[in-house]
Symmetry: C2
Subunit: 381 residues, 2 copies
DNA sequence: CTGAAAGCGCTTACAG
DNA sequence: CTGAAAGCGCTTACAG
């Protein structure tokens, strides 16, 4: 077992041992042409005794593409990305494709390598791109690579994509706060990239503005905060906002990760949530239910599943499982939002907030809570 | 831009346009041999006007291995896996390697494909394997593939690996509970696989037993619960345990994910944490700090970084950044553990527990808390 | 049903 | 410094 590293077994060696030609071995392995049963058995035996495994690069080179589905995504630690990916993996696991994953910097300007280039270099059988914008060059490269592509959480006229109606989601979140009596409502979201294609945060902001306008509520310039995506960056923006002379009584954060940052800022500034400050997020990642965060639930896993099934179809596979319905966006009310308080003076942090935090969990999991969850059918094209 | 999908540009086309031979183009691209400056420029120009990108499969086939680092890991949604991976990605991002990721089922019996087979089929330049056990066949395959391998969170005599002293960690956790006066201490961990190599949970259990024995405390058979890894499975095991006629007053869960399940079970059964039940986890994932979970912190990111740097070294790269010290395991005391209560009768859930939950956060982040954190140098070979 | 031949797009000695 | 040749390990027409 510790001999000199013999070179890996090749198809030629298998052919020799089985007493057939290389193409015959290939036919047996790929079932690409009829082979006499006896021959087949000899080949299979040779494969097993030698422990042969085909070289995917050689196969891919001669076939013109590899047996790989390439998934390109931004930082994998992002919970929403991980959830979608996980569902996608589940779908692809049963398929004949290797799943290869390439993790990219989110801000395109920091990116050394372009998406199209990665596709072109790897020649995968199919591509799934999560939460990443494509530019013209990417489109051209992918076009040249002539490979099926499915997008998640970004849009393009050229490729099918799964994404929710973020504008409606933004309205939904904002209306939840308005419904609680809030009038000083702020928004915190991603720094908006110049690259088009993944406007999730920007669209949620649009929905916020729309709802505010509809309710005839003012949006002071200080009430729109953006920063590079992240919990800590959001915390800092929120802290500044909460120290304004006229701080908001409610904040809609474009994602749960950012909402968690807002909660941290509230603690820092000494504001009681939800009595002095209401906070609503977006996504409904696991941390949201763990911390009692009120949020807009979007179907993260469904989008991963759907994208996977769609790609398999495009690759010519018959898909047994039918694509899951795309569930509606919905408000999940937990314990970080509440009616606007008449008392706007800041008071020391009390234990009350955390007591409520527990009630939340119950609320969101009990059947009766359904009544408290506003619903809205997302507009989809 | 919407022309018939021309086939991707090849090196031969570049050579033609530049008026040189294919090997010369190759030399320019790889800087593998001196090329006249003028020739070089012509080639570069041709590459740019054609938008050429080398076919990695072809390169890999002729070189005998691809320019890829293959990362093989179990479910990526597992927070501890994601954290290690993220750090690994950061290190490898600056390297010349594509990072390809293969996600595997954790329980080997459910696994259709073996690790060694994946390596053999892909012929990567290097491999990192996270939290996955290798068997003899895997070892043989990898040996044949003759590729550098680094292990994270599993051990092998053949490959370098980064893993903490889980036995010591188990003792640390258990001693924390013993130090609080608990005597009825239970353990909940992973179902222990037959495959050797990733005995993290089993080793933590060993540490637990050792500490209990040393303190002369009994371990009733009902106090050792195992289930397939996961929050919900752990919840069920914990629920059963908490309904024993003699329930434990403290539970050590082999991972934070499982500890969260224990907390859910406590809520379900109506036990107040930490007054009626103390819970300690292992890992210190983000959810732990968000929920105030007391836990054993292990250096998840450091292990990812270290493995990445080690692999780059094995691949013959000079590594600028020096490998981070492997930090010690330490107890992070938050709000789910407390002194054993004299009152063992079950009482209705009170708000007190959650009030404490907030104090926790402060404790763990304030400098003064260091004094409350036991430390232990892990034994490493 | 099976084999000899050509080719996939690169890299790497080998000459010059 | 550069090109002609061989080869990496497969697959795919093409004959038979």
């Amino acid at each position: 077992m510790k001999d000199a590293p013999e070179r890996p077994v090749t198809m030629a060696q298998v052919a020799d041992l089985a007493g057939v030609s290389v193409p015959t071995v290939s036919r047996v392995i790929n079932s690409s042409a009829p082979v006499a049963e006896e021959t087949r058995r000899a080949v299979v035996r040779a494969i097993e005794t030698l422990g042969y495994h085909p070289n995917l690069m050689a196969r891919g080179l001669s076939r013109g593409r590899s047996d790989t589905v390439l998934v390109i995504l931004p930082h994998i630690t992002e919970p929403s990305v991980a959830m979608r990916l996980s569902a996608l993996i589940d779908v692809l696991r049963k398929s004949p494709y290797e799943l290869h994953l390439v993790d990219l910097e989110r801000p395109p300007e920091q990116r050394i390598r372009r998406i199209g280039e990665i596709v072109l270099r790897n020649r995968p059988a199919g591509v799934v791109i999560i939460s990443l914008p494509l530019d013209d060059v990417d489109h051209r490269h992918i076009h040249n690579a002539d490979v099926p592509v499915v997008l998640i959480d970004s849009t393009s006229t050229d490729f099918p994509s799964d994404s929710v109606d973020d504008i409606a989601g933004g309205e939904l979140a904002t209306n939840h706060l308005i419904g609680l009596g809030h009038t000083e409502i702020a928004f915190i979201g991603d720094q908006e990239e110049t690259a088009i294609g993944v406007p999730a945060s920007a669209n949620r902001r649009l929905g916020y503005q729309r709802a505010m306008k509809f309710a005839d509520l003012p949006v002071p310039s200080g009430y729109k905060g953006t920063a590079p995506h992240g919990m800590d960056t959001a915390r800092r923006v929120a802290r500044d906002m909460l120290r304004l002379s006229q701080p908001p009584t409610a904040i809609f954060a474009a994602s749960d990760v950012q909402a968690l940052g807002v909660l941290a800022a509230a603690r820092e500034v000494g504001l009681d949530v939800p009595r002095q400050l209401s906070v609503i997020g977006f996504d409904d990642i696991q941390a949201a239910s763990l911390t009692g965060l009120t949020t807009i639930r979007q179907p993260l896993e469904a989008s991963g599943r759907r994208a996977g099934l769609q790609l398999l179809q495009m690759l010519g596979h018959r898909v047994r499982e039918k694509k899951p319905e795309f569930p509606e966006l919905e408000v999940v009310v937990r314990s970080t939002t509440g009616p606007v308080s008449s008392n706007t003076a800041q008071e020391p942090l009390s234990a009350v907030s955390l007591e409520k935090a527990d009630m939340v969990t119950k609320v969101s999991s009990s059947p009766g809570s359904a009544a408290r969850q506003a619903r809205l059918i997302p507009r989809r094209k």
